[in-house]
Protein backbone atom coordinates (compact mmCIF):
# COMPACT_ATOMS: atom_id res chain seq x y z
CA UNK A 1 0.00 0.00 0.00
CA UNK A 2 2.88 2.32 0.83
CA UNK A 3 4.34 1.49 -2.57
CA UNK A 4 1.05 2.37 -4.22
CA UNK A 5 0.81 5.69 -2.38
CA UNK A 6 4.33 6.53 -3.41
CA UNK A 7 3.52 5.53 -6.99
CA UNK A 8 0.48 7.81 -7.00
CA UNK A 9 2.61 10.67 -5.70
CA UNK A 10 5.09 10.14 -8.52
CA UNK A 11 2.23 10.15 -11.00
CA UNK A 12 0.95 13.42 -9.57
CA UNK A 13 4.34 15.11 -9.43
CA UNK A 14 5.19 17.01 -12.63
CA UNK A 15 8.87 16.05 -12.43
CA UNK A 16 8.24 12.32 -12.20
CA UNK A 17 4.89 12.05 -13.97
CA UNK A 18 6.09 10.82 -17.33
CA UNK A 19 8.35 8.07 -15.97
CA UNK A 20 5.67 6.93 -13.56
CA UNK A 21 3.06 6.99 -16.31
CA UNK A 22 5.25 4.80 -18.50
CA UNK A 23 5.47 2.32 -15.62
CA UNK A 24 1.70 2.42 -15.27
CA UNK A 25 1.34 1.67 -18.97
CA UNK A 26 3.75 -1.25 -18.72
CA UNK A 27 1.82 -2.67 -15.80
CA UNK A 28 -1.72 -2.30 -17.06
CA UNK A 29 -1.89 -1.87 -20.83
CA UNK A 30 -2.34 -5.55 -21.60
CA UNK A 31 -4.76 -6.31 -18.78
CA UNK A 32 -6.88 -3.29 -19.61
CA UNK A 33 -6.75 -4.08 -23.33
CA UNK A 34 -8.22 -7.57 -22.80
CA UNK A 35 -10.80 -6.22 -20.41
CA UNK A 36 -11.86 -3.63 -22.99
CA UNK A 37 -11.67 -6.04 -25.91
CA UNK A 38 -14.18 -8.39 -24.30
CA UNK A 39 -16.63 -5.52 -24.02
CA UNK A 40 -16.18 -3.87 -27.42
CA UNK A 41 -15.26 -7.07 -29.35
CA UNK A 42 -13.24 -5.63 -32.26
CA UNK A 43 -9.54 -4.84 -32.02
CA UNK A 44 -9.86 -1.39 -33.58
CA UNK A 45 -12.49 -0.35 -31.07
CA UNK A 46 -10.42 -1.81 -28.23
CA UNK A 47 -7.39 0.16 -29.40
CA UNK A 48 -9.40 3.39 -29.49
CA UNK A 49 -10.84 2.80 -26.05
CA UNK A 50 -7.48 1.80 -24.54
CA UNK A 51 -5.92 5.04 -25.79
CA UNK A 52 -8.86 7.10 -24.55
CA UNK A 53 -8.64 5.37 -21.19
CA UNK A 54 -4.96 6.18 -20.67
CA UNK A 55 -5.39 9.73 -21.92
CA UNK A 56 -8.17 10.20 -19.38
CA UNK A 57 -5.98 8.68 -16.67
CA UNK A 58 -3.06 10.99 -17.57
CA UNK A 59 -5.26 14.05 -17.48
CA UNK A 60 -7.18 13.27 -14.33
CA UNK A 61 -4.39 11.74 -12.27
CA UNK A 62 -4.27 14.87 -10.09
CA UNK A 63 -7.87 14.29 -9.09
CA UNK A 64 -7.21 10.73 -7.94
CA UNK A 65 -7.54 10.76 -4.17
CA UNK A 66 -6.41 7.23 -3.50
CA UNK A 67 -9.80 6.21 -2.04
CA UNK A 68 -9.67 3.02 -4.07
CA UNK A 69 -6.82 0.99 -5.47
CA UNK A 70 -5.27 2.40 -8.63
CA UNK A 71 -6.09 -0.91 -10.31
CA UNK A 72 -9.83 -0.50 -9.58
CA UNK A 73 -9.74 3.13 -10.69
CA UNK A 74 -8.16 2.17 -14.02
CA UNK A 75 -10.65 -0.64 -14.58
CA UNK A 76 -13.55 1.67 -13.75
CA UNK A 77 -12.38 4.23 -16.31
CA UNK A 78 -11.77 1.51 -18.93
CA UNK A 79 -15.23 0.00 -18.33
CA UNK A 80 -16.95 3.37 -18.58
CA UNK A 81 -15.00 4.32 -21.68
CA UNK A 82 -15.92 0.99 -23.31
CA UNK A 83 -19.62 1.40 -22.59
CA UNK A 84 -19.53 5.01 -23.82
CA UNK A 85 -17.82 3.81 -26.99
CA UNK A 86 -20.47 1.16 -27.63
CA UNK A 87 -23.23 3.71 -26.99
CA UNK A 88 -21.67 6.08 -29.50
CA UNK A 89 -21.29 3.36 -32.13
CA UNK A 90 -24.85 2.16 -31.57
CA UNK A 91 -26.15 5.72 -31.85
CA UNK A 92 -24.20 6.26 -35.05
CA UNK A 93 -25.66 3.07 -36.53
CA UNK A 94 -29.08 3.93 -35.08
CA UNK A 95 -29.42 0.61 -33.28
CA UNK A 96 -29.66 -0.43 -29.61
CA UNK A 97 -26.61 -1.47 -27.58
CA UNK A 98 -27.80 -5.08 -27.61
CA UNK A 99 -28.21 -5.02 -31.39
CA UNK A 100 -24.74 -3.51 -31.64
CA UNK A 101 -23.28 -6.35 -29.58
CA UNK A 102 -24.97 -8.94 -31.81
CA UNK A 103 -23.71 -7.06 -34.87
CA UNK A 104 -20.15 -7.13 -33.50
CA UNK A 105 -20.37 -10.85 -32.69
CA UNK A 106 -21.69 -11.60 -36.19
CA UNK A 107 -18.60 -9.89 -37.59
CA UNK A 108 -16.28 -12.01 -35.45
CA UNK A 109 -16.06 -14.91 -37.92
CA UNK A 110 -14.57 -12.59 -40.52
CA UNK A 111 -12.35 -10.79 -38.00
CA UNK A 112 -8.66 -11.41 -38.68
CA UNK A 113 -7.98 -10.85 -34.99
CA UNK A 114 -10.22 -13.66 -33.86
CA UNK A 115 -8.77 -17.14 -33.96
CA UNK A 116 -11.31 -18.90 -31.81
CA UNK A 117 -12.90 -22.18 -32.85
CA UNK A 118 -16.64 -22.82 -33.13
CA UNK A 119 -17.12 -23.36 -29.43
CA UNK A 120 -15.24 -20.19 -28.53
CA UNK A 121 -17.37 -18.30 -31.01
CA UNK A 122 -20.48 -19.84 -29.51
CA UNK A 123 -19.37 -18.73 -26.05
CA UNK A 124 -19.03 -15.15 -27.29
CA UNK A 125 -22.50 -15.41 -28.80
CA UNK A 126 -23.80 -16.69 -25.48
CA UNK A 127 -22.18 -13.81 -23.57
CA UNK A 128 -23.71 -11.33 -26.02
CA UNK A 129 -27.19 -12.51 -25.05
CA UNK A 130 -26.64 -11.47 -21.40
CA UNK A 131 -27.59 -8.09 -19.95
CA UNK A 132 -24.65 -5.64 -19.86
CA UNK A 133 -23.89 -5.98 -16.15
CA UNK A 134 -23.90 -9.79 -16.30
CA UNK A 135 -21.57 -9.68 -19.31
CA UNK A 136 -19.11 -7.55 -17.37
CA UNK A 137 -19.27 -9.73 -14.28
CA UNK A 138 -18.92 -12.96 -16.25
CA UNK A 139 -15.94 -11.73 -18.29
CA UNK A 140 -14.16 -10.30 -15.25
CA UNK A 141 -14.67 -13.40 -13.16
CA UNK A 142 -14.38 -16.18 -15.71
CA UNK A 143 -11.54 -14.92 -17.93
CA UNK A 144 -9.75 -12.40 -15.72
CA UNK A 145 -10.38 -13.98 -12.33
CA UNK A 146 -10.85 -10.62 -10.65
CA UNK A 147 -11.82 -10.88 -6.99
CA UNK A 148 -15.39 -9.94 -6.08
CA UNK A 149 -13.99 -7.38 -3.66
CA UNK A 150 -12.11 -5.57 -6.45
CA UNK A 151 -15.01 -6.01 -8.85
CA UNK A 152 -17.25 -4.39 -6.28
CA UNK A 153 -15.04 -1.27 -6.35
CA UNK A 154 -14.88 -1.22 -10.14
CA UNK A 155 -18.57 -1.69 -10.80
CA UNK A 156 -19.79 0.02 -7.64
CA UNK A 157 -21.99 -2.98 -6.77
CA UNK A 158 -22.14 -5.14 -3.64
CA UNK A 159 -20.21 -8.41 -3.61
CA UNK A 160 -23.41 -10.37 -2.99
CA UNK A 161 -25.12 -8.89 -6.04
CA UNK A 162 -22.03 -9.63 -8.15
CA UNK A 163 -21.95 -13.26 -7.03
CA UNK A 164 -25.62 -13.64 -7.88
CA UNK A 165 -25.06 -12.02 -11.28
CA UNK A 166 -22.20 -14.37 -12.04
CA UNK A 167 -24.21 -17.41 -11.00
CA UNK A 168 -27.12 -16.41 -13.25
CA UNK A 169 -24.76 -15.62 -16.13
CA UNK A 170 -23.08 -19.04 -15.92
CA UNK A 171 -26.46 -20.83 -15.91
CA UNK A 172 -27.64 -18.90 -18.97
CA UNK A 173 -24.41 -19.53 -20.84
CA UNK A 174 -24.45 -23.26 -20.10
CA UNK A 175 -28.02 -23.47 -21.35
CA UNK A 176 -27.04 -21.58 -24.50
CA UNK A 177 -24.07 -23.87 -25.13
CA UNK A 178 -26.19 -26.99 -24.70
CA UNK A 179 -28.79 -25.74 -27.17
CA UNK A 180 -28.56 -26.83 -30.85
Amino acid sequence: MTDELEFIQRLQNNATRETAFRELLQLYKERLYWHIRKIVISHDDADDVLQNTFIKVYRSIDKFKGDSKIFSWLYRIATNESITHINKNAKRLQITNEEHKTYAINNLKADVYFEGDDIQLKLQEAIATLPEKQQLVFNMKYFEDIKYKDMSEILDTSEGALKASYHIAVKKIETFLKSD
Binding site: R22, L25, Q26, K29, E30, Y33, W34, R37, K38, H43, D47, L50, Q51, F54, I55, Y58, Y113, F114, E115, G116, D117, I119, Q120, L121, K122, L123, Q124, F143, V170, I173, E174, L177, K178
Partner: protein
Protein backbone atom coordinates in the same frame (compact mmCIF):
# COMPACT_ATOMS: atom_id res chain seq x y z
CA UNK B 1 -20.53 -33.02 -26.26
CA UNK B 2 -17.88 -32.71 -23.56
CA UNK B 3 -16.12 -29.89 -25.35
CA UNK B 4 -19.28 -27.80 -25.16
CA UNK B 5 -19.02 -27.57 -21.37
CA UNK B 6 -18.21 -24.06 -20.24
CA UNK B 7 -15.25 -25.11 -18.09
CA UNK B 8 -13.53 -26.51 -21.16
CA UNK B 9 -13.32 -23.08 -22.78
CA UNK B 10 -10.33 -21.33 -21.29
CA UNK B 11 -9.81 -18.38 -23.60
CA UNK B 12 -11.83 -15.99 -25.71
CA UNK B 13 -10.08 -16.59 -29.05
CA UNK B 14 -9.31 -12.89 -29.50
CA UNK B 15 -5.85 -11.87 -30.64
CA UNK B 16 -4.03 -8.64 -31.42
CA UNK B 17 -1.94 -7.50 -34.39
CA UNK B 18 1.76 -8.40 -34.16
CA UNK B 19 3.77 -6.17 -31.81
CA UNK B 20 0.63 -4.27 -30.83
CA UNK B 21 1.59 -3.88 -27.17
CA UNK B 22 5.20 -2.98 -27.96
CA UNK B 23 4.15 -0.08 -30.17
CA UNK B 24 1.19 1.02 -28.06
CA UNK B 25 3.15 3.33 -25.75
CA UNK B 26 4.77 5.30 -28.54
CA UNK B 27 1.43 5.72 -30.25
CA UNK B 28 -0.22 6.85 -27.03
CA UNK B 29 2.51 9.35 -26.14
CA UNK B 30 2.42 10.76 -29.64
CA UNK B 31 -1.31 11.37 -29.26
CA UNK B 32 -0.93 12.72 -25.74
CA UNK B 33 1.70 15.27 -26.76
CA UNK B 34 -0.16 16.26 -29.90
CA UNK B 35 -3.28 16.94 -27.89
CA UNK B 36 -1.23 18.74 -25.22
CA UNK B 37 0.26 20.96 -27.90
CA UNK B 38 -3.18 21.90 -29.10
CA UNK B 39 -4.46 22.31 -25.54
CA UNK B 40 -1.48 24.55 -24.82
CA UNK B 41 -2.59 26.99 -27.49
CA UNK B 42 -4.95 29.20 -25.58
CA UNK B 43 -5.36 32.01 -28.07
CA UNK B 44 -4.93 32.70 -31.77
CA UNK B 45 -2.02 35.13 -31.40
CA UNK B 46 -3.93 38.01 -32.97
CA UNK B 47 -3.73 41.37 -31.15
CA UNK B 48 -5.58 44.66 -31.53
CA UNK B 49 -4.35 48.25 -31.22
CA UNK B 50 -4.28 49.66 -27.71
CA UNK B 51 -7.75 50.63 -26.40
CA UNK B 52 -9.33 49.43 -29.66
CA UNK B 53 -12.41 48.03 -27.99
CA UNK B 54 -12.87 51.18 -25.91
CA UNK B 55 -12.95 53.38 -28.99
CA UNK B 56 -14.53 51.16 -31.62
CA UNK B 57 -18.01 51.55 -30.20
CA UNK B 58 -17.96 55.33 -30.48
CA UNK B 59 -16.47 55.16 -33.96
CA UNK B 60 -19.29 52.97 -35.17
CA UNK B 61 -21.95 55.17 -33.58
CA UNK B 62 -20.37 58.30 -35.04
CA UNK B 63 -20.37 56.80 -38.51
CA UNK B 64 -24.01 55.82 -38.20
CA UNK B 65 -24.99 59.33 -37.16
CA UNK B 66 -22.90 61.41 -39.52
CA UNK B 67 -22.41 59.47 -42.69
CA UNK B 68 -25.94 59.65 -44.04
CA UNK B 69 -25.30 59.38 -47.75
CA UNK B 70 -27.79 61.05 -50.13
CA UNK B 71 -30.43 58.70 -51.43
CA UNK B 72 -30.24 58.15 -55.17
CA UNK B 73 -33.65 58.41 -56.78
CA UNK B 74 -34.01 55.37 -59.00
CA UNK B 75 -36.99 56.87 -60.85
CA UNK B 76 -35.04 59.81 -62.29
CA UNK B 77 -32.43 57.43 -63.66
CA UNK B 78 -35.13 55.23 -65.24
CA UNK B 79 -36.72 58.25 -66.93
CA UNK B 80 -33.33 59.19 -68.37
CA UNK B 81 -32.89 55.72 -69.89
CA UNK B 82 -36.46 55.86 -71.25
CA UNK B 83 -35.86 59.08 -73.19
CA UNK B 84 -32.40 58.00 -74.26
CA UNK B 85 -33.97 54.86 -75.77
CA UNK B 86 -36.50 56.87 -77.78
CA UNK B 87 -33.77 59.20 -79.06
CA UNK B 88 -31.62 56.25 -80.13
CA UNK B 89 -34.57 54.73 -82.04
CA UNK B 90 -35.08 57.97 -83.98
CA UNK B 91 -31.43 58.18 -84.88
CA UNK B 92 -31.55 54.61 -86.14
CA UNK B 93 -34.67 55.25 -88.24
CA UNK B 94 -33.15 58.36 -89.82
CA UNK B 95 -30.06 56.45 -90.58
CA UNK B 96 -31.99 53.69 -92.33
CA UNK B 97 -34.41 55.75 -94.40
CA UNK B 98 -32.48 58.86 -95.31
CA UNK B 99 -28.97 57.70 -95.56
CA UNK B 100 -29.20 54.70 -97.92
CA UNK B 101 -27.45 56.15 -100.97
CA UNK B 102 -24.82 53.48 -100.97
CA UNK B 103 -27.14 50.50 -100.47
CA UNK B 104 -26.09 47.28 -102.13
CA UNK B 105 -28.22 44.83 -104.12
CA UNK B 106 -27.57 41.49 -105.79
CA UNK B 107 -28.17 43.07 -109.19
CA UNK B 108 -25.10 45.23 -108.72
CA UNK B 109 -22.84 42.21 -108.62
CA UNK B 110 -21.76 40.58 -111.84
CA UNK B 111 -21.99 36.81 -112.21
CA UNK B 112 -18.21 36.40 -112.44
CA UNK B 113 -17.79 37.94 -108.93
CA UNK B 114 -20.38 35.59 -107.41
CA UNK B 115 -18.81 32.56 -109.07
CA UNK B 116 -15.37 33.64 -107.93
CA UNK B 117 -16.69 34.16 -104.36
CA UNK B 118 -18.37 30.73 -104.25
CA UNK B 119 -15.25 29.13 -105.66
CA UNK B 120 -12.98 30.80 -103.09
CA UNK B 121 -15.25 30.03 -100.17
CA UNK B 122 -15.12 26.36 -101.14
CA UNK B 123 -18.81 25.53 -101.00
CA UNK B 124 -19.64 21.94 -101.82
CA UNK B 125 -22.40 21.12 -104.23
CA UNK B 126 -24.43 19.55 -101.41
CA UNK B 127 -24.33 22.80 -99.47
CA UNK B 128 -25.44 24.75 -102.47
CA UNK B 129 -28.16 22.21 -103.24
CA UNK B 130 -29.53 22.57 -99.73
CA UNK B 131 -30.28 26.23 -100.50
CA UNK B 132 -32.82 25.14 -103.12
CA UNK B 133 -35.88 24.51 -101.05
CA UNK B 134 -38.26 24.11 -103.97
CA UNK B 135 -38.59 20.37 -104.38
CA UNK B 136 -40.40 20.68 -107.75
CA UNK B 137 -37.32 22.12 -109.39
CA UNK B 138 -36.13 20.43 -112.60
CA UNK B 139 -33.33 20.78 -115.08
CA UNK B 140 -35.69 22.29 -117.64
CA UNK B 141 -36.24 25.28 -115.30
CA UNK B 142 -32.72 26.37 -116.18
CA UNK B 143 -32.71 25.50 -119.90
CA UNK B 144 -34.74 27.52 -122.29
CA UNK B 145 -34.62 25.40 -125.44
CA UNK B 146 -37.33 24.73 -127.94
CA UNK B 147 -36.92 21.37 -129.55
CA UNK B 148 -38.86 20.84 -132.76
CA UNK B 149 -40.72 17.57 -133.32
CA UNK B 150 -38.49 16.77 -136.28
CA UNK B 151 -35.34 17.00 -134.19
CA UNK B 152 -36.93 14.83 -131.52
CA UNK B 153 -37.91 12.08 -134.01
CA UNK B 154 -34.45 12.21 -135.51
CA UNK B 155 -32.91 11.83 -132.06
CA UNK B 156 -35.09 8.89 -131.15
CA UNK B 157 -34.40 7.17 -134.46
CA UNK B 158 -30.66 7.36 -133.87
CA UNK B 159 -30.76 6.27 -130.23
CA UNK B 160 -31.11 2.78 -128.87
CA UNK B 161 -34.36 3.07 -126.93
CA UNK B 162 -33.57 0.01 -124.78
CA UNK B 163 -30.75 1.92 -123.14
CA UNK B 164 -33.13 4.73 -122.26
CA UNK B 165 -35.56 2.25 -120.70
CA UNK B 166 -32.80 0.81 -118.51
CA UNK B 167 -31.72 4.24 -117.46
Amino acid sequence: MKKDKLHNIKSTGYKTPDHYFESFEDKLFERLFEEELIDGVENTGYTVPKDYFKTVENEILNKINTEEKPVINLRSRTTFYYFAGIAASFILLFGLFFNNNNSLSVDMLNTASIESYLHQEDYSTDELASLFLNSGISESDFIDINISEETLYEYLDNTDTEDLIFE
